[in-house]
C-alpha cells in the first residue's frame, strides 16, 4: 500500500500535464467559488464535456481539484462583503463579516484560507486512514448488494432534500432511474422508449441530462432573479499582507480546534445525506460549545471562522469515500462528480480497490496538493479577485448557456441532443421553481444501469432469495431506517436546515 501511496504522489507531482490540469482546476474552482450564481455542481456539469475523452486520471484530477477548492474562495465574499458564495460559507459569514467591519478582514481571510487548506488536507488523510478499514467490507459486496446500494444511494440523497421534500427526492431519484432504462434492454436487446430514434438506442446522454437539470435552470433562474451585489466602499475591505499573515498564524494558535473540526467535518462528509452545510454548522456549534468565551461568537471571534472552514473543506475528503467505494455520493456536488467519473470510465465500487488503487491515491493527493496550491494563491490575490463578487448575474448567463449548448452537442455530436436538452431543461426548471430537489435525479440516472445489471445478475444467481442474504438484509434495514429517520425529522418542529431550504 505504501508503494502505491508514494508512487501516486510522485506521478502526480512529476507529470507536467497533471500539474497543469490541477492548476487549471484550482483557477476555475476559485473563479466559480467567488462568482455569484455559479455553484460547484454547475461548474462540474459544465466541465464534463471538456473532460469527455480525456485520460481517466487527468479528467478526474481536474474535476476533483475544481470541486475541492470551490469553498476556499467562496469565503472571500462572505468575509469581505457578508455575501456567502454558497451554503457552506454561510456559517463563516457570522463571524467573518463582523471581523471585516472591525477592520480585521485580512486577519479573517488569512485564518479562513489556512483553515480551509488544513481542513482539506486532514479530510484527505482521514479518507486515506479509512481505506484499509473499509476494504474488506467493500470486497464482500455481491450484485444483490449493489442493486440495494443504488436504492440506498437515492434514499440518502433524498434525505439531503430534507423535511417535506424527502418524498419528492425519492420520486426524482426514481425518475432518473426510469430515464436510465431508455435505450436497448441489456438482456433482450429490445428497444425501450427509443422507438425509431437511433440516437436513443444507446440510452439518454448523461452529459445532456446533467446540463439540462442543473445548468440551464440555474442560469434562467439567475437571469430572471436579476440584480447584483452593490459595490461597497473600498475603506471597508482594505487590508495588508501583515494582517493576512496574522490570520494565518491563528490556525496553529487554535490547532486543537482546527484538528477536531477537520475530523468531525470529514466524518460528517462520509455519512451520505447529512450534506455539505451540516458539517460547517455542526462544527460552528461545536466551537461555540467548547469556547471559554461563547458570547464572542457572532461578534467577530476568529474561532467562528476557523471551525466552519476546516469542516467544510474536510468533508470533501470524507464524502469522496462513499462516492468511490460504495457508489453513494456524500453530497449533491459529489453526485454530479460521480456522474462525471462514470463518464470518464471510473466505476465506483470494489473494482476500484482491486484494479485501480493508484487512481484512488492520486485523487487523495490531488485533494491535498490542490488545497495547498489554492491557499498559497489566494493568500496573495484575495484582494483582487474579490471584485468578481460584483459581477452582474446577467453578464454571466449568455456565456454559460452557450457553453451548456456546446457541451450537450459535442459529447455525442448529435443535434438531437439539443432537443433533449430543451425538454429536460423545462422539467429541470419546473423542479427548481417548485422546490423539487434535483440531485437525486443524477444519482438515479447514473445508478440506473448499475442497478438493473445487478438486479438481473442477482436474480439469475439466487432468485428472489437474494433479499434474504445477510448483507442484503442489512442494507434493506438501512434503507428502512433512513426513511424512518426522514419521516421522524419531518415531524420534528425544528428541522435541520435542508439543502433546498436555507442554503440553496
Amino acid at each position: 500500500m505504501m508503494d502505491t501511496m508514494f508512487s501516486s504522489l510522485f506521478t502526480l507531482l512529476s507529470t507536467g500535464h497533471l500539474m497543469f490540469l490541477m492548476c487549471v482546476g484550482v483557477l476555475i474552482g476559485i473563479f466559480v467559488g467567488i462568482t455569484p450564481g455559479i455553484g460547484g455542481r454547475l461548474s462540474i456539469a459544465l466541465a464534463i464535456p471538456f473532460v469527455f475523452g480525456m485520460d481517466m486520471v487527468a479528467g478526474a484530477v481536474l474535476l476533483l481539484t475544481m470541486h475541492a477548492v470551490n469553498g476556499t474562495s467562496g469565503q472571500i465574499s462572505s468575509i469581505m462583503f457578508g455575501v456567502p458564495g454558497d451554503g457552506d460559507d454561510a456559517a463563516t459569514t457570522i463571524d467573518g463579516y463582523p471581523m471585516a467591519k472591525k477592520g480585521e478582514a485580512g486577519r479573517a481571510l488569512g485564518a479562513s484560507m489556512t483553515a480551509s487548506g488544513v481542513g482539506g488536507i486532514i479530510g484527505a488523510v482521514v479518507f486515506a486512514v479509512m481505506i484499509p478499514v473499509l476494504e474488506p467490507v467493500v470486497l464482500s459486496f455481491s450484485p444483490a448488494e449493489f442493486f440495494l446500494l443504488a436504492l440506498l444511494g437515492i434514499t440518502f440523497i433524498a434525505v439531503l432534500a430534507g423535511g417535506k421534500n424527502f418524498l419528492k427526492g425519492i420520486i426524482v431519484g426514481f425518475y432518473g432511474m426510469m430515464l436510465a432504462t431508455i435505450g436497448m434492454d441489456p438482456s433482450t436487446g429490445t428497444s425501450r422508449y427509443a422507438g425509431d430514434f437511433l440516437f436513443l438506442w444507446d440510452g439518454l446522454s448523461l452529459v445532456t441530462a446533467v446540463l439540462a437539470l442543473f445548468a440551464v435552470p440555474e442560469m434562467i433562474a439567475l437571469a430572471v432573479k436579476g440584480g447584483s451585489i452593490a459595490a461597497v466602499g473600498d475603506s471597508k475591505v482594505r487590508f495588508t499582507y501583515k494582517q493576512i499573515f496574522d490570520g494565518v498564524l491563528e490556525v496553529p494558535r487554535n490547532w486543537w480546534l482546527a484538528l477536531r473540526t477537520s475530523i468531525i467535518g470529514a466524518v460528517i462528509g462520509m455519512i451520505p445525506g447529512l450534506g455539505g452545510s451540516a458539517a460547517a454548522w455542526i462544527c460552528y456549534g461545536h466551537a461555540v460549545q467548547t469556547s471559554k468565551t461563547p458570547e464572542m461568537f457572532g461578534k467577530g471571534a476568529v474561532q467562528g471562522v476557523i471551525a466552519p472552514e476546516t469542516a467544510s473543506n474536510a468533508k470533501e475528503g470524507g464524502s469522496l469515500l462513499p462516492t468511490l467505494f460504495f457508489g453513494i455520493p456524500g453530497s449533491s456536488g459529489m453526485a454530479v462528480l460521480m456522474g462525471a467519473f462514470l463518464i470518464l470510465g471510473i466505476q465506483p465500487g470494489p473494482t476500484l480497490i482491486t484494479n485501480n488503487m493508484s487512481l484512488v491515491w492520486t485523487l487523495i493527493w490531488a485533494l491535498v496538493v490542490g488545497n495547498v496550491i489554492a491557499v498559497c494563491f489566494l493568500l496573495f490575490v484575495a484582494r483582487w479577485v474579490a471584485v468578481l463578487t460584483f459581477v452582474k448575474g446577467t453578464l454571466i448567463v449568455p456565456f454559460i448557456l452557450v457553453m451548456t449548448v456546446f457541451g450537450a452537442f459535442i459529447n455525442e455530436g448529435q443535434w438531437e441532443n439539443l432537443v433533449i436538452l430543451v425538454i429536460l431543461s423545462a422539467i429541470g426548471y419546473g423542479l427548481l421553481r417548485f422546490g423539487w430537489p434535483r440531485a437525486p435525479f443524477v444519482i438515479g440516472l447514473v445508478l440506473g444501469h448499475i442497478a438493473e445489471e445487478s438486479l438481473n445478475k442477482a436474480l439469475a444467481l439466487w432468485g428472489m432469495s437474494f433479499f434474504t442474504r445477510p448483507l442484503s438484509m442489512a442494507l434493506i434495514a438501512l434503507i428502512v431506517l433512513t426513511i424512518g429517520y426522514a419521516i421522524y425529522k419531518n415531524r420534528k418542529p425544528a428541522n435541520v436546515p435542508s439543502e433546498t431550504s436555507l442554503y440553496e
Binding site: 438482456s187 449568455p398 452557450v402 449548448v405
Partner: protein
C-alpha cells in the same frame, strides 16, 4: 400574498401531475415489452407512480389548508441563529452579520413572469437558431443581443465581449478539441443547392 401562495400551490400540483404523467406513460409503454425488458421499468415505475399519487395528495392537502413554509419571512441570519441555538442549546445573536445580505439589490418581483418568458424565448431561439443556421451564426447573435437588450450593455461593450467569447469558443472547440459542429439545416441546404461541398 394569498394569491402568491395559491399560484405557487397550483405550480406545485402541476409539477406533481407532470411527474405522475411521465411515470404513467412510461409504465404504460412498458406493458408492450417482453417480460424481461419490462421488469426494471415496472420495478421503478410502479413505486414511482404510487409515490407521485401520495405526493399529490400531500400537495392538495397543503394547498387546501394554506400551509406555508415555517421559515417563510425569516432572514438568513435569523435562520442561522435558530440553527446554532438548536445545536448548542444557547441563545445566539448574529445581528452584527445582519444587513450584509441586504446589499444584494434585487429587481422587483412583479416582472418575474415576463422575464421568465423572455429567458425561455431567448433559450429556445438559441437552440432553434443553432439547428437551422448552425453554431457560428447563432451563438454570436445570441450573445450580442442578450448582452445589449437583456443585460442592458452598450453596443460597443456587447460587441467586444461577443467577439472575445466567439474567438475563445472557436479556438477551444474547433482548433483545440477538433469538434465538427452542426452547420444548421438551412446552411446545409444552401450549400447543397449551390454544390459547395
Amino acid at each position: 400574498m394569498n394569491n402568491v401562495i395559491m399560484k405557487n400551490a397550483g405550480g406545485k400540483i402541476f409539477m406533481n401531475l407532470l411527474m405522475l404523467a411521465i411515470f404513467a406513460v412510461m409504465v404504460g409503454m412498458a406493458t408492450q415489452y417482453p417480460p424481461q425488458a419490462r421488469f426494471m421499468p415496472f420495478v421503478i415505475g410502479i413505486p414511482g407512480l404510487v409515490m407521485c399519487v401520495i405526493q399529490l395528495f400531500l400537495e392538495i392537502r397543503d394547498a387546501r389548508s394554506g400551509a406555508e413554509d415555517e421559515d417563510e419571512g425569516k432572514s438568513e441570519m435569523q435562520k442561522a441563529e435558530e440553527e446554532v441555538a438548536r445545536i448548542t442549546g444557547r441563545k445566539m445573536d448574529f445581528h452584527e452579520a445582519e444587513g450584509a445580505t441586504a446589499m444584494v439589490v434585487e429587481e422587483s418581483r412583479e416582472g418575474r413572469g415576463r422575464r421568465e418568458l423572455i429567458m425561455w424565448g431567448s433559450f429556445l431561439a438559441l437552440i432553434a437558431g443553432i439547428l437551422l443556421f448552425g453554431f457560428w451564426i447563432s451563438v454570436p447573435l445570441f450573445i450580442l443581443t442578450f448582452l445589449h437588450f437583456y443585460a442592458e450593455r452598450s453596443w460597443r461593450f456587447s460587441l467586444l465581449l461577443t467577439a472575445i467569447a466567439t474567438t475563445i469558443f472557436y479556438c477551444a472547440f474547433v482548433l483545440g478539441l477538433k469538434v465538427i459542429l452542426h452547420e444548421g439545416f438551412v446552411v446545409e441546404a444552401i450549400k447543397e443547392h449551390f454544390d459547395m461541398y
